[in-house]
Amino acid sequence: MLGKILPFEIKFLHKNFFTYLIYLAMMFQGIWYMKGFNDYYKSDDSLMNSAGTMYILLCTIGMILMIVFSIITGTTLYRDLKNKTDQYFYTLPVNEKKFFMSRFTASFVINIIFSLVYFAGCIISKYTGIAPPDRFGPTQWMQIIHGYLLFALPNVFILTTAAYSALVFFRKMAPSYLAIFFVSLLWIIMEGVSHTASDLFLIKIIDPFGYVYVKDLVDAMGAMQRNTAFLTIDYVYFINRFIWVGAGILLLVISRKKFTFKYFFGGESKKVKSVNNSDSASFSFLKQHIKIPEVSLTYSLKEYLKKAARLTVLEFKNVTRPVSFKIIIGIMAVMFILYNLLFNPTYYIGSALPVTTNMTLTRLQINFMLIIIIIIWANELFFKEKTVDVWQITDSVPLPSWVTLASKFIAMCGVVLIFGLTLIACGLFAQLVQGFTDFNCLLYINDALGYRWGWLTYVLFVMFTLFIGGLTGRRYATTILSVGYFIIMIISFDLGISEEIRFGFGLVPGIEGTYSELNGYGMFDAAAAKYFLMWAILSVALLIAGMGLWARGTGKSILKRTVSGIRSNPAALIIIAACIFGFFFMQGYIKKNVNENRNFISEKQTDEESALYEKKYGHLSELTQPKIRHVDLEVDLFPENRKYVYRAVLEVVNRSKEKIDTLYLNIDYRSKVEKISINNKALLKETDDDILGMESYKLTESINGFDKAVLYIEGSKQYTGFSQEDFQADLAFNGLFIERVIPVIGYNAGRELTENKKRKEHGLEKLKSRMSSVTDTNALRTSYAAGDALMVSGRTTVSTTLSQYAYAPGELVKIREEDNRNYFQYSVSKENPFYWHIGSGKFKQFEKVISGKKVKILYDPKHYFYIDKYITFVSSSLEYIERNLGPFPHKELRIIEIPHYQDEFYSFANTIAISEKEGWYANMKEKDVEAYVHFCLAREMIRQWLHSKAGTADVQGAEMILTAIPEALALNHIKNQYGKEQLDIILTKKRKDYIKGRGDEPNVQPPLLYADGVDYLEQNKGTLAVFHLMQQTGSKQFHKLLNTWISSSGDNYLVFKDFYSLLETENLLGTDEKELFETVQRDLKI
């Protein structure tokens, strides 16, 4: 039988024009995904078509293919039901089971064919010019086949069985789509969760495609290995496949059992409402000579509106009444709740409290699929009459199309509102279950019902769909076009192929990862409102146009419909024209604010500017410029205007024998220097590069070799307009944090591109190391904290609005209120590295004196949960420091919560700033979490100690000093406090992060001794190695040596290599340790 059915099905498929379109789409998807992967691995050794990439792609199937599967899989069986050919099959002399299996196999084979076309697209992408030819290597055929058999083939099987069995169980097409959607959704969620989860095991198992598993393995490979390696699979693979393929087989067996012609095609009659006999009797007399009563017909606008209202209710009920709808809502709710309970609130190695921010995140994971479902659903509703074939009756009634369409549209708005409300309900439920009642109702409404991928976004897409429906007049074409557009749009943004949000229908800035507990959506609030307004205006036009163009009857061309639409309602045309004008006006307005104002700069342009900066100003790195030694700074913050002004008196020195007669200042696009003088003599501006942000000033009187001078700068910075991406964190409305107020003097090496792939692209020389070598005498004399400053002391007066509390480095000298503003004066009396960070926010304060130190915690009032723990952590860390390292350098310590926009931790004189995401609402009921937060705080306090002792030289190994050593000490402290078990959890996490991070090393991984400041290295392998050493040496000895080394450095900046040599001379380094620090090992042995 298969022999008959399969060729027939394949022939049948290829009679359809759409099949060829799908082939094209598959090819396109292949090429397009490859392009998206271009930037995924940063190393310039990474080939685009590396075996690793292919393994990953072989797991994903791809979004377009998923949709194709869902549309096409069931059709081999459903077709007979739909076309009513079931009646003959019922009677055919064939074996039902064989018939079923053959049809299934046909679908499976067809799906395989489609998947092969997709992978063919991936393979041929290297000939399509999507990237320079040298980015591709030879096609790794064996690995591709390997991956296909391990992943793609089973995945196609799983999807096919899911769709098929749903079809058999429900005898409807919709469940079969949904089955594929839900399988894919599970994958999407697992993928999403995998980024933050601490333990991937469960996630790898639940992920139906094995994607997370493969990705984890491939990410951990080095670039070279990734290019050609065969994937080595382990037991996790088998568990995953056993469960999922097993589930597929099980479903298939059950469906096969359930499938009989009688069951599937014999739409057995449901119970019929019994008819009241007396009713019929009382009416039976009518049967004979009854006259049809006359009626009055009304066609007024008022009646139309009333009718629209009636129809809306009817349509809404029609959608929501069926059990299938309730099932879908039920499944959605269960997913939301599980998601909220299990996955959303993760923190490093444990969980976070279920704050509302975490609850509404769920929508971002699920919305991609949800919006596709909404589009399809809306489409089904709009074309309902066509689907059930009553259009000939309903299209010839004297009711304007807009009445029915408007009612369907409004009904659909109601339906999607249910989705939004479900999200809220599930969030509240998940919070309550966990005994958490600090609901943020406003945020719920804003997120779930607003236009940040909430209800209003859904509504926009319903409008969009209606328009496409009006345009094409066909259901299938509408589904394909609308869903296709949506998928391509989202994935283009996801892969970074598109960046301008204003080109993505329905998108607004600040949807993902922007919400701050302190600052809310901040500036993005204003931005999003404008984008939404733009889309809303366009959508109104789309809605009206869609209704006007809506095809009644059959075979009416779009041209005719347009003409007759315009003729019958010229007013609509005016509204549409006005809306389109409004839309383009808004486009222009947004472009002006976002792009022309340099509030948003595309990644490409950013890189280009960095490269240009290096090319144009690189030579200045050799030029002598004054160095800051003492600061007297006054800053006035105006958070509500996103503005600050400052006056700085800087004591500077010329540390070389050459004289300085030109001063270079980095002044970005939004900053201005109002007044500048040296030794009271005004400077003359020579050049002003607005785009690259460099200004040069001629000195009227040069600073001679080894001379001091006083530099006075008065300036300001203000943001105007709004951005689509940039947080503009230094001037947030609440919780602003300015890393540096004073302009950087001279060449700013921090702006250079460090990834060799990008450097090559922009014609820059490849870097051997991202930091200067320990033999570079100039670099040895440069502070890692700031190239243009020495160790610095000074004073800061910072003022802010009355409602906020401001801080700066140093001890608090005075607070005063003046002119409705708060003034805070801080002083750094002992020199510190130049981390001169300033911030302000609406904080709640907690103050306590711990062993003579004033400890103040400034935190977001919502995050009151574990303030007492912080105090405990401070006090125990303090004790550790004072016992092992020496007296804590400050009498006063501030711990401040800042938005998550910038670094997670900042440590500067008397101050530790911690991102809101790092512990404030972590779930410290879990020991692991508590230990980790404690660890972080201890590390920062050790940094306080370190900063007060000495500066660090701007050479390789700097982060070993500033990160690895404090972390190792902090780990030791955690070991003492919590025991080995908690310690091991952190160590394991660090090992994993290292393995994963090094796989994505863009350049070349250096040995620890030459570590050049990359995220994954010092704080993972570095910490592990130093901690290992410390254990070997014994902590007492280690602390002592550390102190010896630091105090022996005198006025020089610290260099990690010196510490290493010290250990060496003390004979503390065995061959293993040497290997650990001096080589890049393949296997991490600690």
Binding site: V272, I292, Y299, V390, I393, D395, S396, G553
Partner: protein, 296 residues
């Protein structure tokens, strides 16, 4: 009250010319449209009911142009399509009430009353609460008839209304239609000649997209008066007869073949005169068409 169809032509995108320059003038009463499968009847009807556009030509009803003012036509229209679906999950009464609402019967009471009357007229009163998906073919057809009559239409277009009806229901339908036909324009298409002869005061025969004959059934019958002859033969004789005579129709009757031929003079040879029926007229015209087709 008059429906004017002028020079209507329609070619489908696949090249089939479904209507060729069709012109008809249809007044009050029942108008029958007779024609073989694919003659273009449904196409013509869909154009009248504003569901489709003609390539050229126009349709006006009471002076209203269907193409440029479809809404006004729809206000006067009742239409039973040849094939149609229903919302499967609701019952006949609900669906009719819904359609009555769409048709513009704003008053709830009036809606209810008319729906009830129509339900009993088409004998669906007892099944009115039954889900439409459980309806038999004939029941669905009767539902279709009921919906076409909602809202007192002046122009009623029914495409093969009797398809699937049993004799009793067909009869009931005839009565209903003639009652309505008295004051309205009713166009029905059918293959069943009897439908036309019992019901219609005017008719047209369509073939290959063309109207080949119009008139009253009687007129058409008269055109063949004294020209038809009938004879029973053995089936082997047919071959010969087809060559020598103009055979309009033949059918088996009790094992013998009964042949009708057309001839101005008596053909002799055992042929007896036959009174012309509409069916003969129909067959005659179709035969003519086929012949001319062959000759071309």
């Amino acid at each position: 009250m008059n429906l004017e169809i002028k020079n209507l032509s329609k070619t489908y995108p696949n090249g089939v010319q479904a209507l060729k320059n069709v012109s008809l003038s249809i007044g009050k009463g029942m108008f029958g449209l007779l024609g073989e499968n694919g003659a273009g009847k449904s196409t013509l009807m869909r154009i009248i009911t504003t569901l489709q556009d003609a390539d050229t030509g126009e349709v006006t009803f009471e002076g209203i142009n269907a193409a440029s003012n479809p809404m006004e036509i729809r206000k006067r229209l009742g239409y039973l399509p040849q094939e149609f679906g229903v919302y499967p999950s609701i019952n006949a009464e609900e669906m009719l009430l819904h359609l009555a609402d769409l048709k513009g019967i704003a008053d709830k009471g009036e809606r209810k009353e008319q729906v009830n009357a129509l339900l009993s007229k088409v004998n669906l009163w007892n099944d009115r609460k039954k889900k439409l998906c459980g309806y038999s073919g004939g029941m669905k057809q009767r539902f279709g008839i009921a919906q076409a009559l909602l809202g007192d239409p002046k122009l009623i277009i029914v495409d093969e209304p009797t398809a699937g009806l049993d004799p009793v229901e067909r009869n009931r339908f005839y009565n209903l239609l003639s009652e309505i036909g008295e004051n309205n324009v009713v166009i029905l298409s059918t293959h069943i000649v009897e439908d036309v002869s019992t019901l219609c005061n005017n008719m047209a025969i369509m073939a290959n997209g063309e109207v080949i004959q119009t008139g009253t059934p009687a007129e058409l019958e008269n055109s063949l008066a004294d020209k038809l002859w009938v004879k029973e033969i053995q089936k082997e004789e047919l071959e010969e007869l087809l060559i020598s005579h103009k055979v309009i129709a033949n059918h088996f009757h009790l094992g013998k073949l009964s042949v009708t031929v057309m001839s101005d003079k008596e053909p002799g040879n055992g042929f007896n005169p036959k009174e012309a029926s509409l069916e003969d007229v129909y067959f005659n015209f179709l035969g003519n068409i086929k012949e001319s087709d062959l000759r071309n």
